[in-house]
């Protein structure tokens, strides 16, 4: 029975380092190559020694697929391809391909330049790695090789996030990456067709949560911004150039318009152009509303949001500033933060995750005294707010996706098995499918039952019809005879005559023969007649003939009689039958060995 193996790589059942190996139909695929943001040592990368103990991965992997640009899904990519060694194709969508190297470079700078770590990938490695990337379009089937094909579906979550279907022959697997089933201000909801994969692989991180609505998250954001503005404070929002920034800008723009607010909002320099550039490129990845309004006006050219000049930071009165980078580790956002940190009227809103070693990470952990370069300390008096806008499918979303794709098996990764018995039971009950939860390094094996398409010749069907009997009932299996031939990579069921013809073979007859000795003091022809009479009485309903050439035939079985050269009373019977009548032939030989009854005339 063919099977599909799925192995999440890494240590323990923990979140934040997606890397899953799938072997399907003889192909090996790596899904995501993420890093763990909580570790500084080897544990931050997946354990690639699982694939091979020595050296390069190229010959063990047919391809690598990256679902989206978050570092817990792509952060280990340059390490894997350039330091461990992999030269095969890496697939990701166009937006992911554009954004992923920027994030990797940002992260490299923090790790190497700020924290002084060595043994980390270099800028050149990021570039070399990205050269191996093959871009994917949504809903386009990409042939990795003759047998392996992949197809990307829209996943919501972040710009460019994709779910991916992997197919070999009639076996298939869908990997969801991170996805979101409810549209938000700038992205749509995940969608997949009823592709009925053998396995649907999903993250289980949010499988047991019920999410607070996006609007309530936004409401709190507006409330915080407004509170600070009202007391005359300044609000700093450190952002990554793409993604949440646009969403929050649309939100603030709407709010300012409705509330008729006057405090200025600034977007740090360079950010607007960069963002506009990307959104123009990837407009098809945003939601319908944005796509539509983009025709009339650029959604990201705002009425209330103006470009920022560094001199504005010292202006009196309230203001809101969006500035990069998002983790306060360098650049404009850090400069502004240093200026404003001392005033408790001010506020910094961190709309996303911050990696260890950054100022963002420190202040989110409640640190109020920061050591800056040159031994100076910075006292943090401003209000620090952490808001998560991440768009993930929750328990309900996972069920919705299962309903959409109708998988034959469900597989949840990164979950704590014991705490998910209910969820497993729920999925198994509601959809009558098996649900697997392998721990990292543990393999889940799913047997598949791939259907093999076979063409049947029209002649064979017509002959079957001509044989009479009722017309075939589509719901009931019916036996028919034919010859299965494999020709030009396809299977055909044809009549044996046609098979011989097509394959250029001669027909052979297979016959069994056997001799039976018998004590019978009659002439040969009398003995033959006695056999004829005997068989007639034993085998009712069979065609039995006494032929003039001195043979008896029972169906295809031929019986001849001759006398032994030594003893005229010893008769030798020659039996011969074709392969098809094997049962009857052996029955007759056994029967005749017992001799003829005496009362026969």
């Amino acid at each position: 029975m063919p099977e599909i193996n799925v192995t999440p790589l890494g240590a323990g059942q923990d979140v934040g380092r997606s890397c899953i190996l799938v072997s399907i139909g003889g192909k090996n695929i790596m899904l995501d190559c993420g890093m763990h943001m909580g570790y500084n040592d080897d544990r931050r990368f997946p354990d690639f020694s699982y694939i091979t103990q020595n050296g390069r991965l190229t010959e063990f992997l047919d391809c690598v697929i990256i679902s989206h640009f978050h570092l817990d899904h792509c952060g280990a990519l340059p390490y894997m391809s350039e330091m461990v060694g992999y030269d095969g194709p890496i697939y990701m969508t166009h937006p992911t391909k554009a954004i992923c190297p920027i994030l990797l470079e940002d992260f490299r700078k923090i790790t190497v330049d700020k924290k002084g770590e060595t043994n980390f990938f270099t800028s050149q490695m990021i570039k070399d790695c990205m050269k191996k990337v093959v871009p994917l379009n949504l809903h386009q089937t990409v042939q990795v090789d003759d047998e392996l094909e992949i197809k990307a579906y829209y996943a919501g979550h972040v710009l460019g996030a994709a779910m991916v279907q992997i197919k070999v022959g009639s076996e298939s697997v869908v990997y969801t990456g991170d996805y979101n089933m409810t549209p938000d201000r700038h992205l749509g909801a995940a969608w997949i067709d009823k592709c009925r994969p053998d396995i649907l692989i999903s993250e289980s991180t949010y499988a047991t949560t019920i999410r607070d609505s996006k609007r309530c998250r936004e409401r709190d954001f507006l409330k915080k911004v407004h509170e600070s503005i009202e007391r005359g404070g300044k609000v700093l929002i450190p952002v990554f150039a793409l993604g949440r920034a646009q969403e929050l800008c649309i939100l603030l723009e709407t709010f300012w318009e409705r509330m008729n607010l006057k405090a200025p909002i600034y977007f740090s320099t360079g950010l607007t152009e960069k963002a506009n550039h990307y959104y123009k490129l990837f407009i098809t990845w945003t939601n319908q509303k944005i796509r539509k309004t983009f025709v009339q006006r650029n959604m990201f050219e705002f009425k209330h949001i103006k470009p920022f000049d560094r001199s504005y930071a010292d202006n009196p009165g309230p203001m809101v500033v969006f500035a990069t980078p998002g983790m306060l580790h360098a650049g404009q956002s850090l400069q502004i933060f240093k200026k404003w940190a001392g005033n408790e009227k001010n506020m910094v809103i961190m709309p996303g995750y911050c990696v260890q070693g950054t100022i963002g990470h420190k202040i989110l952990n409640g640190q109020r005294k920061l050591e800056m370069e040159g031994r100076a300390t910075l006292e943090v008096k401003l209000q620090v707010e952490y808001m998560s806008f991440s768009a993930h499918a929750d328990a309900k979303g996972i069920m919705q996706l299962i309903r959409m794709a109708e998988p034959r098996n469900m597989l949840l990764v990164h979950g704590e098995g014991a705490k998910m018995t209910f969820l497993k039971g729920k999925i198994e009950q509601e959809f009558s499918i098996d649900c697997y939860m392998p721990a990292n390094g543990e393999t889940a094996t799913v047997s598949t039952n791939p259907s093999v398409p076979v063409d049947i010749s029209l002649n064979l069907l017509k002959r079957e019809m001509a044989l009479g009997g009722p017309l075939p009932d589509p719901k009931k299996p019916r036996t028919m005879h034919g010859t299965l031939i494999m020709k030009e990579n396809s299977l055909k069921l044809v009549s044996s005559e046609q098979a011989l013809k097509e394959l250029g073979l001669n027909e052979h007859q297979l016959r069994f023969t056997c001799r039976v000795q018998l004590q019978d003091p009659h002439s040969d022809s009398d003995t033959l007649h006695r056999i004829y009479t005997h068989l007639k009485s034993v085998l009712k309903g069979y065609t039995i003939q006494h032929l003039p050439d001195g043979t008896v035939m029972v169906e295809s079985i031929v019986i001849k009689v001759s006398s032994s050269a030594d003893d005229a009373n010893t008769k030798v019977l020659l039996l011969s039958w074709s392969y098809q009548d094997e049962d009857l032939g052996s029955f007759l030989s056994t029967l005749l060995k017992k001799g003829l009854p005496s009362g026969l005339c």
Partner: protein, 425 residues
């Protein structure tokens, strides 16, 4: 800068703006059928309006969507609640942990955790119409409304996420008499008080199934509520407005108080009472379908202390009244009413007088109505199916509606905001 001075438009104007939009939207829908993104945008606008308005009226607001609607919300600890489906066949019983953000006192801003977590779950074969947690245990008891028998469940511990059915409790009658009401209180050997009619109330020990007490009454009226108000004293509220107060330690006849005299047809009635160490501190509230409310004292439930005519729009008169909820606030002189109109209403009972008078709600939570307009069958806003007060946070409630929404909200006390007078509640 004054707190309210943050826009050129007052709150009231904003409400009317969103109302106008809604009216226009309804009109459009009638004219051109359910279609078009204009309308979709309009619904979005109404929601945006409501959320912007909510910045002033709520301290906290969290909006969740369950897969299946619930008629029960029951606290199982200070941080967890149970909800359960009421579909005709298979249903889920879930224990949810409230988000950390709701409990963070210091550094609230640093706590981004705002989701419910499903900590335990189980499957029920029938609907769950009533659900009660037995204090001091990990045990819940449910009624499916199909018979007077109850189901007993173990919520499970830290090592598992499964809620398991562990047994059942036999009711006094076998026939279906509507939903059994269940009351529980802390005790060394867990027992529950239960019954669907005033005539079949009994106290059953959970482990042994032994009947410890039976209430003897002359009539058998369907119950709308059943609760302990002291260690052994309990109150049973009937749909016809009668109240029985009895003590499980004695077999003496219960104290019966008929409903307050009312103008016209008023059945059914709903009742709630506050619990306390002595009867003088226990208040009883009764509310009729027509909106007549009366507060009395447990020592003499027949004597009305104060009363009012509530502003309930009873447009569910023709449909089921199963969903109606009435509750006394644990920390304020307030009541919450849900299931009669589309909103959850809060009334301040401290201003009521012995003579009946019209009372306007102190606060209305219209969130379920507004957000259910978003769904495609939008023309019928979802009815509120249940609500509970937070035991410790005075103005925090949880409410659920027929569209599966669950809201956690904490309203802003306008009187305190406008004039922080000394002695304000």
């Amino acid at each position: 800068m004054k707190r309210d001075d943050w826009s050129g438009v007052s709150g009231e104007d904003r409400v009317s703006q969103s109302e106008a939009r809604w009216e226009k939207l309804k009109h459009n829908r009638l004219r051109c059928g359910i279609d078009g993104e204009m309308e979709e945008a309009n619904v979005e606008d109404i929601l945006d309006d409501w959320f912007i308005e909510s910045l002033k009226t709520y301290k906290d607001l969290h909006v969740y969507q369950l897969e299946h609607p619930t008629q029960v919300i029951e606290w199982t600890s200070g941080k967890t609640v149970c909800v359960a489906g009421y579909g005709s066949s298979k249903n889920e019983v879930l224990e949810l942990r409230l988000p950390l953000k709701l409990f963070a006192n210091e550094n609230k801003g640093l706590c981004a955790e705002r989701d419910f977590k499903v900590v335990h779950g189980g499957f029920a074969d029938g609907p769950v119409r009533c659900l009660r947690h037995v204090p001091g245990t990990r045990c819940i008891v449910t009624s499916d409304g199909l018979s007077s028998n109850l189901q007993v469940w173990d919520l499970g511990g830290d090592d598992s996420d499964v809620i398991r059915r562990t047994g059942s409790v036999k009711g006094r009658t076998t026939a279906s008499e509507g939903v059994s009401r269940i009351a529980a209180r802390p005790s060394s050997r867990p027992h529950i008080l239960h019954g669907a009619l005033s005539g079949d109330i009994q106290l059953t020990e959970l482990t042994s199934g032994k009947t410890l007490y039976k209430l003897e009454t002359d009539s058998a009226d369907p119950l709308s509520s059943l609760q302990f108000v002291g260690d052994s004293v309990f109150l049973a509220g009937c749909r016809n407005g009668n109240i029985y107060v009895a003590d499980t330690r004695t077999s003496s006849a219960p104290q019966l108080s008929p409903p307050p005299a009312s103008s016209g047809e008023s059945e059914p009635w709903w009742t709630d009472a506050s619990a306390g160490p002595d009867p003088s501190s226990c208040r009883v509230i009764r509310l009729s379908l027509s909106g007549e409310a009366a507060v009395s004292d447990l020592r003499n439930p027949g004597a009305i202390v104060s009363r009012a005519r509530l502003d309930v729009q009873t447009h569910c008169r023709c449909s089921s009244t199963d969903d109606v909820g009435l509750s006394l606030a644990p920390a304020l002189d307030c009541i919450a009413v849900s299931g009669l109109g589309r909103a959850v209403q809060i009334y301040d009972t401290s201003v009521w007088r012995p003579e009946p008078q019209d009372a306007l709600p102190l606060f209305e939570h219209r969130g379920h109505e507004v957000s259910s307009r978003q769904s495609d069958e939008g023309s019928v806003p979802a009815l509120v199916t249940s609500h509970v007060w937070h035991p410790d946070r005075p103005r925090t409630l949880l409410s659920a509606a027929a569209d599966g929404s669950v809201h956690v909200w904490d309203w802003v006390d306008r009187s305190a905001a406008d004039a922080p007078a000394p002695g304000a509640k």
